[in-house]
């Protein structure tokens, strides 16, 4: 494991701890980790079409989040994984040529996803407090409630016509 992978692993563990009250966050941490492990193993084994493999892994995570999401923070996570799909597409079509830039962009998206899940976990803890500490804490509470609210648009296959 290199230093970036160690940093990501530590951050995933910290996020899982912080978001311990959110079982669905654990589900998506596990899905993202699985996608990362498959993609990294593909890269380590020097198998061909690495960006395509990463693209398919991220697209599958995207599809599963879209299908199973129940809360608004999961839709934000879906958008982050879409960004990851876009990065892999840009690499595949030669817009991103440097491997370093490609890897850095994917790491940034992964870190952002973990920050979102950890932040939702923290905000979920403050959302139901009885005290009013001031307007900026109130804003955080509103954000927390908004992230934990039910998703607004249901998946297409649940709509009859």
């Amino acid at each position: 494991m290199n230093q970036y992978e160690v940093a990501l692993l530590i951050m995933a563990l910290v996020t899982a701890f912080v978001a311990r009250g959110l079982p669905r966050a654990w589900l998506w941490i596990a899905a993202g980790a699985l996608s990362f492990v498959v993609s990294a193993t593909w890269w380590r084994l020097h198998l061909p079409y690495h960006p395509a493999a990463t693209l398919i892994c991220d697209a599958l995570v995207c599809l599963s989040i879209y299908s199973l999401a129940r809360e608004e923070f999961e839709i934000w996570l879906f958008n982050l994984f879409r960004l990851s799909v876009l990065v892999s597409l840009l690499k595949l079509f030669g817009v991103i040529q440097e491997n370093l830039i490609y890897a850095a962009a994917l790491e940034c998206v992964n870190f952002a996803a973990l920050l979102l899940l950890g932040g939702t976990g923290i905000l979920a803890g403050t959302a139901n407090g009885g005290h009013t500490f001031g307007s900026w804490i109130g804003n955080f509470r509103r954000l927390g409630r908004s992230l934990r609210s039910a998703r607004r648009s249901p998946p297409w296959f649940t709509i009859p016509r």
Binding site: L55, A59, L60, C62, L63, Y66, R82, V85, L86, L89, L92, F93, S153, P155, W156, F157, I159, P160, R161
Partner: protein
């Protein structure tokens, strides 16, 4: 089955899959419309994309060109629709 036909089928289907998972439709009817248009337009415009981008006609390039055509077909139809609507308003 010959190699280029497999490349075209793989390209078109992967493009349709990416298009539908990247920007999911809002209903079953939308899914059918978008899926069908991705497959048909990908199949029709895959070859012109290959020629336009001046890629070699090998297996990888064929898959990439057909995937590209299939993936962006719905967005291209949307852009065309807006252009036509703007033209109608002007005239």
């Amino acid at each position: 089955m010959e190699d280029s036909l497999i490349a075209k089928i793989v390209g078109v289907l992967s493009g349709a899959f990416l298009s539908l998972s990247y920007d999911p439709p809002r209903s079953r009817a939308g899914f059918l419309r978008r899926g069908a248009s991705s497959i048909i337009f990908g199949w029709v415009f895959g070859e012109p994309t290959l020629v336009f981008l001046e890629w070699k006609g090998d297996y990888n390039s064929t898959v990439a060109a057909f995937c590209l055509a299939s993936m962006f077909s719905w967005s291209a139809i949307g852009v065309l629709k807006r252009i036509v609507e703007a033209y109608k308003k002007e005239s």
